[in-house]
Symmetry: D2
Subunit: 414 residues, 4 copies
C-alpha cells in the first residue's frame, strides 16, 4: 500500500541509460498526474556498471540496485520487469521474467530477429493465460497527436486509406568521423536505421491505420562503411545522462567493445538508411524511409495519410500538432487544420496543463506507464502487444529480404 491507500506495483528495471532515464521518470510521474489504480514503486534497478546504475537510482528514487537482471527477475517485491537494454538481450530477459510471472514492458524493437520475437510472443501468450501482461515500448503511439490520428481513422474521418508516407529522419551519423557505437554494430543492434527508427514508423502507421503491411520492396545502404573506434570506447555521448555504454536506445553511444580494429577504425555492419515501398491490408500504397543521414533533421518523424474522406499529417519536430484535412468540406473554406493537441478532450490531455501548454518528448513514456498500469489493474491486455512487436519484426525481415533480393516484392507473413 502506498501513502494514499492505493495498492502499489513493484517495478524492476534493467538498463539505466537513455531509455532507463525516460522510463524512471515515467514510472514516477504516472501517479502524480493520472489517477492510476496501482501506484508504481521504483523497487530495483539492474545494471552492470554499478556506479552508473547507482547514480540513476539516486536521481530517481530507485530503492535498490543490483548488478544482474537475473536476481531482479525473481524478486518478490517486483511485479513488473521493464527491459531497457539493447535488442540482443530482450528475448532472454523478457522470457525469463514472464516465466517468473512478472508483467513485462520491453523496449522496441521487440528483438533482433524474427525467431526471437516469435519465442517472446509465445512466452507472452502463455503468460497471458495466467494473467501476466506484456507490452512492447513503441512509445510514440502515445504522443497525443498520434493517438488523435488513430482516433480519426477509427471513427471514419479519413475514409478509405489510399496513401501512407512515413519518414524517420535523423542526421547524427552523417559525419563520417562519428565513432562506432553499438547502434552501428549488427551483433548488438540487429540492424541500423531500419530497426532503430524504421521500426517506429512501421509500428506507427500500422497503429494509426489499424491495418497491417502485406508486402514490401526495399533498398538498404551503408554510406560510411568504416568509422573510428573511440579510445577505450570512452567517447562521450552527447546529451547522455551517464557515460555508460550499457543500454541506450534511440540514440548514439560509444561502441561497446566488439570491434576488431586494434588501432583506429572498425566496420559498420548495419544499414545507414532504409527505404521501402509497401502495401497495407486495405490496399493503401506506402513509402517508408528511415535514415541517419538527413542533414538538418534531428528526430523528424513525418507521417501523412491520405484517405477518401480526409488526410492527416504529423511531424515530430512539431509534436503537439496534428494537421487534419476534411475532404468532405466545401473546398472554398477547406484546408488542413492545424490542430493544437492540447485540449482537455484530446487523448491524455485532461491530466496535464490548460490548452496551449505543450507536452514534450518524455510525456509519452508517462502515458505508456499509465496505460500499462491501468491494463494490469483492469486485467486487460495492454497494447502494443508482443504480437504487435512481432508483426513489426516481420516487416523488417521482409525489408531485409527484399533489399537482399534486388528489391523484389516480398510478402510479409502473418
Amino acid at each position: 500500500m502506498t501513502l494514499d491507500g492505493k495498492p502499489a506495483l513493484g517495478i524492476g528495471m534493467v538498463g539505466y541509460s537513455f531509455m532507463g532515464v525516460a522510463h524512471s521518470h515515467a514510472w514516477r510521474d504516472a501517479s502524480s498526474f493520472f489517477d492510476v489504480a496501482l501506484v508504481p514503486r521504483l523497487r530495483v534497478l539492474a545494471g552492470r556498471n554499478e556506479q552508473a546504475a547507482r547514480d540513476v537510482a539516486s536521481r530517481f528514487g530507485w530503492e535498490s540496485v543490483v548488478p544482474d537482471w537475473q536476481s531482479l527477475v525473481h524478486r518478490t517485491d517486483v511485479d513488473l520487469v521493464d527491459v531497457c537494454t539493447p535488442g540482443d538481450t530482450h528475448a532472454e530477459i523478457a522470457i525469463a521474467a514472464l516465466e517468473a510471472g512478472k508483467h513485462v514492458l520491453c523496449e522496441k524493437p521487440l528483438a533482433n530477429t524474427v525467431a526471437e520475437a516469435e519465442a517472446m510472443t509465445r512466452a507472452a501468450d502463455r503468460a497471458a493465460e495466467s494473467g501476466v501482461r506484456s507490452m512492447v515500448g513503441f512509445t510514440y503511439r502515445r504522443v497525443p497527436a498520434i493517438a488523435l490520428a488513430r482516433r480519426l481513422v477509427a471513427d471514419g474521418t479519413v475514409g478509405e486509406i489510399r496513401h501512407v508516407r512515413a519518414q524517420y529522419l535523423q542526421d547524427w551519423a552523417s559525419d563520417p568521423d562519428v565513432p562506432l557505437n553499438w547502434r552501428l554494430q549488427k551483433e548488438r543492434a540487429g540492424s541500423g536505421a531500419l530497426g532503430d527508427i524504421g521500426a517506429h514508423i512501421v509500428d506507427l502507421t500500422q497503429f494509426i491505420t489499424g491495418e497491417r503491411i502485406t508486402g514490401v520492396s526495399a533498398m538498404l545502404d551503408t554510406f560510411v562503411t568504416e568509422r573510428p573506434v573511440a579510445e577505450g570506447d570512452s567517447v562521450s555521448t552527447p546529451n547522455s545522462l551517464s557515460g555508460a555504454a550499457d543500454a541506450p536506445s534511440d540514440k548514439l553511444s560509444p561502441a561497446s567493445a566488439a570491434t576488431s580494429a586494434s588501432a583506429g577504425r572498425g566496420q559498420v555492419t548495419v544499414d545507414d538508411a532504409a527505404t521501402f515501398l509497401a502495401r497495407f491490408t486495405g490496399g493503401a500504397m506506402a513509402t517508408f524511409e528511415a535514415t541517419r543521414f538527413a542533414s538538418g533533421r534531428k528526430n523528424s518523424i513525418r507521417i501523412e495519410i491520405n484517405g477518401s474522406a480526409g488526410s492527416l499529417a504529423f511531424d515530430f519536430e512539431d509534436m503537439n500538432v496534428l494537421h487534419v484535412h476534411d475532404h468532405t468540406e466545401d473546398p472554398a473554406r477547406g484546408g488542413f487544420r492545424r490542430v493544437l493537441v492540447t485540449e482537455s478532450d484530446h487523448p491524455y490531455l485532461a491530466a496535464w496543463w490548460p490548452p496551449g501548454h505543450l507536452l514534450g518528448y518524455e510525456h509519452s513514456f508517462t502515458h505508456q506507464a499509465v496505460d500499462l498500469v491501468t491494463a494490469i489493474a483492469d486485467g486487460a491486455d495492454p497494447w502494443p502487444s508482443f504480437a504487435d512487436g512481432l508483426a513489426v519484426q516481420r516487416v523488417l525481415a521482409a525489408v531485409e529480404a527484399s533489399a537482399a533480393g534486388k528489391s523484389v516484392w516480398t510478402e510479409v507473413p502473418t
Copy 2:
C-alpha cells in the same frame, strides 16, 4: 543530507493548484536531470483546502501538509518558501518568509500593486544582506528558445534593437458564458489580461533585450462586463488537477466567492485585453498586446525583435523553435533560420534528451528550480529578482494610468 550525500534544501510551498502542481514537479525533477549542489526536499505544503492539499502532497511526495502558511514560514526544516497563491497574498507571505530568513520564490506578478511590490523589494534587499535569496517566477525566461534569444541579443547578433512586438494571446474568456472566476476579479487578481499574461511579455522583452521600458501609451477594455456566477462556485475547471479554488495561476478557475450576485450574474472588474505602445531604453519602438479574446489562440506568446544586425522571432505554440535572421548575410542565401532548440549546447539542453526530442511547458519550471538552487548554493543573487518584478509592476501601473488618461504617453519611473 540526501541519500547520495548531497546536502538538502527544504522546500515549503504555499498553494497547490495549477502553479502548485507545476512547482511540485519541478522541485522533484531538478535533481533528477541536473547536477545540483543542493537537493530540494519537498518538506511541507500549505493549503486551506486540506483534502485538496493532501491529494497534491500524496501525488508528488510532499512530506507533510499544513492548513496555513504562517506555520510553514517558521518551520526549521524549511529553507525556502515557494509562494504559489494569487497576487493579493504575495506581499504578506513573501515578506514574512524573508523576515524569517527563508529564501523565497514568488509567483508572478510579484504583487497586485506597485506599493506592495516596492515593500517586497525592500524586504528582499534587506534579506539579501544576510544571504537570503529571492526570485520572482517569470518562468518563461527559462524556455530554452527564450534563453537562446537573450544570448543572441547579448552577444551582438541582433545589433541595435529597433523594434519589439509582443503578443500574449489566449481565448478562454471569449465565450460570454464562461463564468466569473478569481482571474476576472480585481480584488484577487489586481488586473486582468494585463497582469496575468501581459506581465509575462513585459518581463520577457525586458529580459531578452536587456533593456527597460521607459514609457507607454495604452488602451484597456472589457468586452464582457457581466458573467454568470457558478452555483456554489463549483464550476469545474478545465484541465485542473484539483477542483479547488485556492491558488491557480495562469489559468481559469471558478470565482472564489467574492461576488454579490446572489442569483446569477456578477461584474467583471478587470480588463479582458490590454494593448500598448512602448519605448525601450535603447530607443526601440514596441507594440504589446495581451488578450483573453483571441479566438483560436490558446497560449500564444509571440515575440519578434528586429535589430540592425538581425532579427528573432518566437511563438510559444512552437516553443522549441527560435527563428533567427542574420542581417549581415548575403541576402541571396539569407533568411530566417528555424533553429530547433534541442542541441546540447543550447541553454539547459545538455541535461535532457538527444537533439530533436522536444521539451514541454513544465520544463521551464524545472530550469527555474535548478537556477534558484544553484544560486543559493553559490551564494549568488538569482534572477529575475524582486526588483525585476517591481520593474514589471511599474510598467503595468503606467499602462493603467495611460489607459485611464486618454492613452497619453506615460513615463515608467525607474
Copy 3:
C-alpha cells in the same frame, strides 16, 4: 471596337516606373484572362523622361508617348486616366482628368494631405453625377486571400470583431548607407512608412472588417536622420525596370534632387516607422505597425482578426493562403485551417489556373483593372472610392497628430 467585337476603353497612364509597369501589365492581361465587357486599349503613356517612357511603352504596347500629363488628359481617345505618380501630384492630375470627363484610377495614397484628398473626393463626387468613375489603387484588396477574408467577415463567419492586429514590415531602410530617395522626403512622399505602407494596412483592415477606425494613439520615429545623397542622384534602384526617378511607388528609388546637402548627406524628413493603437466602429481594439526597419522582413503584410465566432490570419509572404479558425467547432478537432486560395470558387480564381497553382504579386493589379472596367461598363461605382482613400488619409493625419501630441488619443473625423 476591338478585334473580337467588344468595345474598347482607351487608357492614358501617367508615370512609367514600378507602378507604371504593374499597371501596364494589368491593363493588357485583364481581357486575356477575364471576360470583360470593355477591352482596355493602351493608348498613351505620359512621362517626363521620354526615353524611359518610350522603353516601357515599347515593352507593353502603349500606342503613343507624351511628355506631359496635361495633353494626355484631354485626348479624345483616352477614356480613363491612370495616375501612377508620387503622391504630391495626385490631386492636380486626378482633378483635371475628372473635370475633363475621364474616369480615373489613382495610385495610393490618394494624396499627401487631407485637404488634397478632400478636394479630390469632391471632384470625384461631382464627376460621378455625370457617370464618370473613380477608384484609388489599394491593390492589395484584390489579393484573393484578402478578398476571401472580407467575404468571411461579411457572411458572419468571424462574428463580432474584437481584435485587429496589422503589420506592414519591410527592411530596405535598415542599412544607414541606403541613400536618400524620394520616399524619404516629405515634400514628395508626404510621409514615410506611415503613408507608403501604413496606408495599405489601414485600408485593408477597414475593408476586411467593413468598419472604420474611430481614433488612434500613435508614435512615429526616424531611426536614421541623415543619409548619403547619391552622385547626381544616379544610384541604381534594385529591381527597377527603368533607372528613372519619375513615379515609383511602394519601393525605393533615388532622391529626386531636393536635397540641400551639396556634398554628401541629406536629411531624412519622414518617419522610418509608425506604430499606433486604434479602435474600430464596432468596438474592436487594434494595433498597427508600419516600418522599413524590420530586418529580414521584405514585404510582410500581416493581418490577424479575432472575432466572437472565428479568426482570420494572413501574411503577404505566403499570399495565396488564408488561415481560418472556426470558433464554433468542436475544439477537439478545431484549429486554424490553411486555406490555399486557389479554388475556382475563391475570389477571382475561376479565371486563372487549376487548384494549387499560385498567383503572384501582379495578379491583384489585373483584378483591379478588371473590376474597374466592369464597374464602368455596368455604370456602377467602383471601390475603393476616393472617399475610401480620404478615410485612410484622415487616419494617417490623426496618427501624425497623436504622435505629435504625446500619443494622446485622437479621434478620426468622419
Copy 4:
C-alpha cells in the same frame, strides 16, 4: 523588326487549352519584362476547334488561326513551333517542325513512349547540326526557388548527395465520380500520374542534382478503375479557359471520345498513383511518389535533398521559398533557413518586383520563353533538351517495367 528595332521571332503554337494559354501569356510577357535579343511575335495558332482557338487568339493577340498543325509548320513567318498538345501527337508534330527547319518547344512529357522519344531526340540532333534548337517544357525548372536549388548543389553547398525524396501530390481524381477525361486514358496520355506529374519530379530531381537515375523499384496502382462518361463529353472543366477538349496539360478535362461505354461508365486505363525507389548516379537513395489521390493536396510538389554538407527543401504550395540547411554551421545557431526567393540576385528575379513581392505559377513559362529565345539568339543549345526528355521517358519506362515485374530492381538504360 519590332517597333523598338529588335528582330522578331515568329511563333506558331499548336494547342490552345491550359498549356496554350500559359504559353501565349509567356510569349507576350517575355519581352515586356526581360531584355531579350529576339522579340517573340505571336504569328499563328493551330487548333481543331476553330471557335475555341479564335477565342484564345483574340485574348492574347495571335495574328492568325489555322485548323491544322501541318500548314502552320511550313509557314515562312513561323520561326518556332510550340507544341502544346497531348503526348500522343508530340512526335509527329515536333519531328515535322524540326525537319521544316523550325525551332521547337515541346510540352512534357516528351512523348508517350521511349521509341517516340528516341525518334524525336534523333530528329533534334539532326536539326541541331543546322542550328535548329529544341527544348522540352519541363517548366518547373524555371521556378526561381528550383533554379536556386540547382545553383546550391552545383556550387557545393549541399555536398555529396545522400537522399532525394520527391512527391507530386494532387487530389482531383480522389472522387470516384470525377468523369473520364483524356488524362485517364492510356491511348492519349500514355500513362497516368506517372507521366503527367511523376515526369516532373523525375526531371526536377535530375536537374537539381545534376545526376541521372540509374535504376528503380516501382509500384503502380489504379484505385478507381471505372468512371462515368460525361454526356457528350461536355462535362465542364474546373478553371479551364475554354471548354475545349483539345490540348490541356497538367489538369483534368473531359474525355475526348474514346470510350466504348455507350451508356454511362468507361475504363480508366492508366495509373492513379505511382511510387518508386531509385538510385542516382552519385549513389543517393531516393523515394518518389506521384498521385492524384492525396486528398487536400492540390499541386504539392515537394522535393527534399540531403547531402553531406547541407540540405534543401521545397514545396510548390509555397513556391517562392527554398529551405536551406548548412550542415557546416555551428548547430547551436543552425537550422533550415526560409529563403524567400525574391532578391534581385536570385535566378530570374532582377526582371521582376522588389524583394518580398511573390511570383506565381505562370512566371516559369515566361522564364522558359526567355531562356529559349536567348539560346536561339546566342546560337546555343537550350535546356532541357529532347535528350533530357528522353532520359525522363526512360525512367518512366523502367518504372512501368519494374511495377509489372514484382517491383524488381530495373536499370534505366543510358
